[in-house]
């Protein structure tokens, strides 16, 4: 079995938001503009969340890059009335853009705030629309439906196609989601958590490893490595 997972080393992450930008570009995530952003409608399949604490001069800040956790027990999937969000055989929580009715039950159910709703028709003014990723897995979404990080499924597919064409099994490191590939601090890792030899499997055994909101029982497949 394959169980795709991600590890983000907070000690190497510099909160650059390269991942956010790469994800936007790779996955045709529309921007919302000043008004939309002010209303909290900006979309980031991968958002970097800042936490600033303390008082001058004893200030501390931490930053969590947050893709979808691809929960093993995904509340979003459980609540979807039409199965528009579902878990595929590799554990990736995917999105069926043509089935979603836009009820936003999943957005309400996801404890990680990972899911984004298309409040309007996506804004790609000419000629910007030209640079949208033509991969069929990432169409520009219509208004009225929900979208989120899908672990760059198009890249997973491409890597599989390539391995198949070369007549071999997928290797660890064959797949780099856009955010992982660009990660400026080389803080992100992607791979098969079921493969005991993969980099991610090795890293999640680290004493620094933790997951977000583990107590909710969602069993995220995104792990973080603590700073320090």
């Amino acid at each position: 079995m394959t169980r795709w997972g991600m590890v983000i080393d907070l000690d190497k992450c510099v909160a650059c938001q390269g991942c956010t930008a790469a994800c936007r570009a790779e996955n045709n995530v529309p921007f919302q503009g000043p008004e939309g952003t002010a209303q909290g409608r900006a979309m980031f399949w991968n958002e970097v969340i800042p936490v600033v604490e303390g008082e001058y001069p004893d200030v501390k800040a931490r930053f969590f890059p947050r893709p979808c956790m691809h929960c093993e027990r995904p509340p979003c999937v459980f609540v979807c009335p039409v199965g528009a969000t579902y878990q595929d055989e590799d554990g990736v929580v995917r999105q069926n853009y043509s089935r979603c009715i836009g009820c936003r039950f999943c957005t309400v159910a996801c404890p990680y705030g990972v899911r984004y709703f298309n409040w309007f028709k996506p804004n790609f003014p000419e000629p910007m629309v030209a640079y949208t990723n033509p991969d069929p897995e990432v169409p520009v979404r219509p208004k009225g439906i929900v979208e989120k990080c899908v672990f760059c499924i198009q890249r997973i597919n491409k890597a599989k196609e390539k391995a198949a064409a070369e007549g071999r099994e997928l290797k660890d490191g064959d797949i780099a989601p856009a955010c992982v590939q660009t990660c400026t601090g080389r803080a992100r890792y992607f791979g098969d958590l079921d493969n005991p030899d993969s980099t991610v499997s090795r890293l999640v055994k680290s004493t620094r490893a933790f997951r977000l909101l583990e107590e909710l029982g969602t069993h995220p497949k995104v792990y973080y490595l603590m700073e320090g």
């Binding site: 969340i49 979807c80 009715i101 836009g102 009820c103 957005t107 705030g113 709703f117 208004k143």
Partner: protein, 454 residues
């Protein structure tokens, strides 16, 4: 068809027969609100839900509030009437239909608000084409449609004799409609027996369905992990809340019917007194649940920062004003009014009911929005302000409900004429029996019977 005696049927057929200017003005007024709502919906459909005040994380707002509210109100009718029927409360007779109609007309309005809320109403059939049984939303669809079906039957069955009455008394274009709907009712004993059996069965069936409806509605929230929602009491809490607001709504409908159709003779202060008492019990129950809800959260304050932040938002933060006004004027003030016999006058119960209905809407809002505004991860807190579209569609929702109700009350007798008559007969029989047994003490009994009747 046998002759009705003591009851003046004409009085009840009057509103059905004569449709005055007031009706047309009302209908025109309601239709204009609805037309405006249609425009708002069209605009929303064209531009996207972006023109609402909804956002991330407050993904749900007025529409879901309305949905929960109307489904709650729907418990007025069927549930209240079923319980009263089963307990054979004689005073129910003039009330049941007034209440049952509320159920039948609020359910579609509630469902309609779901349609307002979804991003892709054009794909709504996916719910039927690709239902995913795990989703509480699917449970909801199931139980609400069941409830609607049951309620329609439950409204319809006792209506049959009255439809027949209309068929016999009212001519014109409607006669044919009445003829069909009357299903050949002749009032034979066999028919009567079957009808009573039908009503009896429905009254039993409808209660668990009604309870399930609001339980399931609560689970839309309760099945998530969100602060303030993730609670085991949500099922009963919502059911009680629904009955609570439902009774209040029924009282309001009674008052309006009484006034508009001049039914002072039928809907008497006593009815308001009894309903007021019921309402008082539920007020107490609801206050109890609300207290239990927040205390458990509050007690575990340190447990989750998100819940703490939610409580702060409610008690002292941005929702505090709404929250406290609601607690005081939505629960305590009505409770106090209803606790006193003088308060259970028509005016008193109406005031209490107005407060309760309004603040139960607010309460739905307070359940939906603040919880959404607080997230587990340290995102900025959310904020929500409805736009003209949501206000318009909310107004239109109420207008649709009122319109349906008004039209219904102009098509069919709004109180159950044959049941009143039956009650009168029963009472007379009882009274006669009593008179036989205790001739000297007959007088007070007599009055008792008329009370039951009247």
């Amino acid at each position: 068809m046998e002759q009705l005696t003591g009851i003046d049927e004409e009085r009840y057929l009057e509103p059905v027969k004569k449709v005055g200017r007031g009706f047309y003005i009302t209908v025109a007024f309601l239709l204009s609100i609805i037309a405006w709502g249609a425009f708002a919906w069209y605009t929303q459909f064209q531009t996207g839900l972006g023109i609402t005040g909804l956002n991330r994380p407050v993904f749900w707002g007025f529409y879901i509030t309305n949905f929960v509210f109307f489904i709650g109100i729907s418990h007025a009718g069927t549930l209240v009437s079923a319980i009263l029927r089963l307990t054979q409360a004689g005073w129910r007779r003039p009330i049941t239909r007034v209440a049952e109609a509320i159920t039948v007309f609020t359910l579609p309005v509630g469902a309609m608000n779901v349609l307002f809320d979804v991003g892709r109403p054009d794909r709504i059939l996916n719910i039927i084409l690709h239902p995913q049984g795990r989703s509480p939303l699917i449970w909801d669809i199931g139980s609400i449609s069941m409830y609607l079906t049951a309620s329609v039957i439950y409204l319809y069955l006792p209506l049959i004799p009255d439809i027949a009455l209309c068929r016999d008394r009212i001519g014109g274009w409607r006669q044919e409609l009445y003829r069909i709907l009357a299903l050949g009712w002749r009032g034979t004993e066999a028919q009567k027996k079957r009808l009573k059996m039908g009503i009896g069965i429905m009254a039993v069936v409808v209660i668990p369905i009604a309870v399930s409806v609001h339980t399931v509605v609560s689970w839309i929230f309760g099945m998530t992990t969100r602060a303030g929602w993730h609670s085991t009491i949500f099922g009963p809490y919502f059911v009680v809340g629904a009955i609570f607001s439902g009774i209040a709504a029924a009282i309001l409908a009674m008052a309006v019917v009484r006034k508009v159709f001049h039914m002072e003779h039928t809907l008497k202060p006593r009815h308001f007194d009894y309903m007021g008492l019921l309402l008082l019990v539920l007020t107490a129950a609801y206050i109890y649940f609300t207290f239990a809800e927040y205390l458990t959260v509050y007690y575990g304050y340190g447990g989750s920062a998100t819940e703490g932040s939610l409580l702060t938002a409610l008690f002292t933060g941005e929702f505090a004003l709404t929250f406290w006004v609601m607690v005081v004027f939505g629960f305590f003030v009505p409770g106090i009014i209803l606790a006193f016999p003088q308060g259970r006058s028509i005016r008193g119960t109406v005031i209490a009911s107005v407060l309760i209905v309004f603040f139960m809407w607010v309460k739905r809002f307070i359940i939906v929005v603040p919880s959404l505004s607080r997230q587990f991860l340290p995102y900025p807190t959310g904020f929500y302000q409805a736009t003209w579209v949501e206000w318009s569609l909310t107004a239109a929702s109420f207008a649709v409900f009122v319109l349906l109700y008004v039209v219904f009350s102009r098509m069919f007798p709004i109180v159950s004429v044959w049941e009143l008559k039956e009650g009168e007969e029963e009472a007379r029989e009882k009274a006669e029996e009593a008179a036989k047994m205790l001739a000297p003490a007959g007088a007070p009994r007599q009055s008792r019977a008329s009370e039951v009747l009247g």
